[in-house]
């Protein structure tokens, strides 16, 4: 599937191809490619063909569908009618099947997109590697001996391997941005509260976001635009009407004040990640460096809030089903479940204080640039990351650069910065709350400069 989502939508809308034939080809591609990657946990052939036939009927009756016939897939924490919502967990295999689709899946359906299946993830989204003991490790399409990142590793790998042009995912501490970086694709973590989470399995209520992934920035924008809109059934979803970003990708960066994040964000980089940031800044003509006040405390607050809310949510499983839980995260969940309330309450207050401190910097800057991961994709099974001579636990450290941003809900587009012969690594383009448009303007400038693109991996079949 080498065509972009917008190319497919144009072909289907013009009647050059049918959505049904696109869906059949896409399903075949999944069957051919996925054995090497293990991105999919379920392929929903019947549903995909039924949805595609409905699109063909809607096109025949002259409906305008922004994503007509575009195949996509979702992280398996999104409810899909008739499918048990796994959230990466063996203990969810016995759950009742979802009775309806998640809000964002419904919006994709309304836009004419065709759901092919559900995608692998770290159990309950608590991990950055998608080394799922029960459903298998998702492999990086650029080097199948390496991780795809996580927790939305299945989503990123399915997109990077060209099995689908679009995927939906979630990001609590970096779960869209980390795998997007390691798989070399475009990913959006919108402002906290922008997109409805109704019908997605929660991890950390205070920090959970949903968002899209794509192989082109224009596809990412088009997908995000159909996902927007308020939803009274998600208590965190803001009552904001759609603020389209499609036009922003080509709007240029004239007048924008852009700075690279130094300090904390400069201290946690390996050479390839540093090089990605430098190439982005060179392409944008950015020489200014600024700091996020107390980013380390923001990261600590996110870490404590995640451990506490995540652990509390799964207490019953931690009590009774530990042998069926993911060995990579079970002990971490237990430690979080018993964390003192004083730690959690203070972490929430620090988050508020840190939010207020960061709000002030937007008076002097519009967009911030930072690496999305400290390193390129590591080998499957790797336990440790060497960062400037300091040995750090890899599975927790991959989110060092993303956690301080999502802690306070800022919008981020992750942009791939490829280099020939090297593994991908991406940069975060960060803006003030509700200014996704500025993220897309700067990301669009990186694409226009040629510095950012999403090269396909070597054939995987």
């Amino acid at each position: 599937m080498s065509e972009s989502a917008l190319q497919i939508a144009a072909s289907v809308s013009q009647g050059a191809v049918t959505a049904t034939s696109v869906a059949e080809a896409a399903l075949d591609a999944v069957l051919r490619i996925d054995p090497a990657i293990n991105a999919f946990t379920a392929v929903l052939r019947e549903r995909a063909l039924a949805e595609a036939q409905e699109v063909d009927r809607r096109i025949a009756s002259r409906e305008t569908l922004p994503l007509a016939g575009v195949p996509y897939a979702v992280k398996n924490l999104f409810d899909v009618a008739g499918v048990a919502t796994l959230a990466g967990a063996k203990v969810h295999l016995q759950r009742p099947k979802a009775r309806s689709d998640a809000a964002l899946v419904t919006r994709m359906h309304e836009a004419g997109a065709v759901l092919l299946g559900t995608l692998n993830m770290d159990e309950f989204a608590y991990g950055f590697t998608t080394e799922n003991t029960h459903f298998g490790t998702t492999r990086n399409p650029h080097d199948t001996g390496r991780i795809a990142g996580g927790s939305s590793g299945g989503s990123a790998a399915a997109v990077a391997a060209r099995m689908v042009p679009l995927a939906l995912a979630s990001d609590t501490n970096g779960s869209i941005r980390v795998p997007s970086s390691l798989c070399g694709i475009y990913g959006l973590k919108p402002t906290y509260g922008r997109l409805s989470r109704r019908g997605s399995f929660p991890f950390v209520d205070s920090l959970d976001h949903l968002g899209p992934m794509a192989t082109t920035l224009a596809d990412l924008a088009a997908c995000y635009d159909v996902l927007q809109g308020p939803d009274a059934d998600d208590p965190a979803c803001a009552e904001r009407e759609t603020e389209p970003v499609r036009g922003a990708c080509d709007a240029g960066i004239a007048g924008l004040r852009i700075a690279r994040l130094g300090g904390y964000f400069d201290e946690h980089l390996t050479a390839p990640a540093r090089a990605a940031v430098e190439r982005a800044c060179l392409a944008l003509g950015v020489t200014r460096v600024t700091e996020l006040p107390a980013a380390n405390l923001g990261r600590a607050a996110a870490f404590v809030i995640t451990a506490s809310e995540g652990g509390a949510r799964h207490l019953a499983h931690l009590r009774d089903r530990r042998d069926d839980l993911e060995p990579h995260s079970c002990d971490r969940f237990v430690a979080g479940a018993i964390a003192p309330a004083a730690w959690y309450a203070k972490a929430q207050r620090v988050r508020r204080w840190y939010r207020d401190a960061v709000r002030e910097i937007w008076a002097g800057v519009d967009v911030l640039i930072a690496a999305a991961t400290p390193c390129e994709a590591t080998r499957i099974g790797e336990e440790w990351l060497d960062l400037n001579g300091v040995r750090m636990p890899l599975r927790a450290s991959l989110g060092l650069l993303t956690q301080p941003i999502s802690c306070i809900g800022l919008p981020v587009v992750t942009v791939p910065m490829p280099r020939a012969g090297r593994l991908p690594v991406g940069v975060q383009v960060i803006a003030a709350p509700w200014r996704e448009d500025l993220c897309f303007r700067v990301a669009g400038a990186l694409v226009a400069s040629g510095a950012s693109s999403c090269p396909a991996p070597a054939p995987l079949e």
Binding site: P235, I338, R352, A396
Partner: protein, 60 residues
Amino acid sequence: MTEGDAAAYVDAACAVHGIALRDDERARVTAHFVRLGALAATLVDLELADDVEIAPVFEP
């Protein structure tokens, strides 16, 4: 918090929460708890103004 404090807390708190840890689990959970505690320690003594409230999303 010493390693011993952490181990004692993990034992007591798991008992309170009804989590019966095996010895191998106890060691790993304690290691994670110590790591969590080190990050929490950067927060608990931070002086904040009294009006810095938790920012929950709750609409009665």
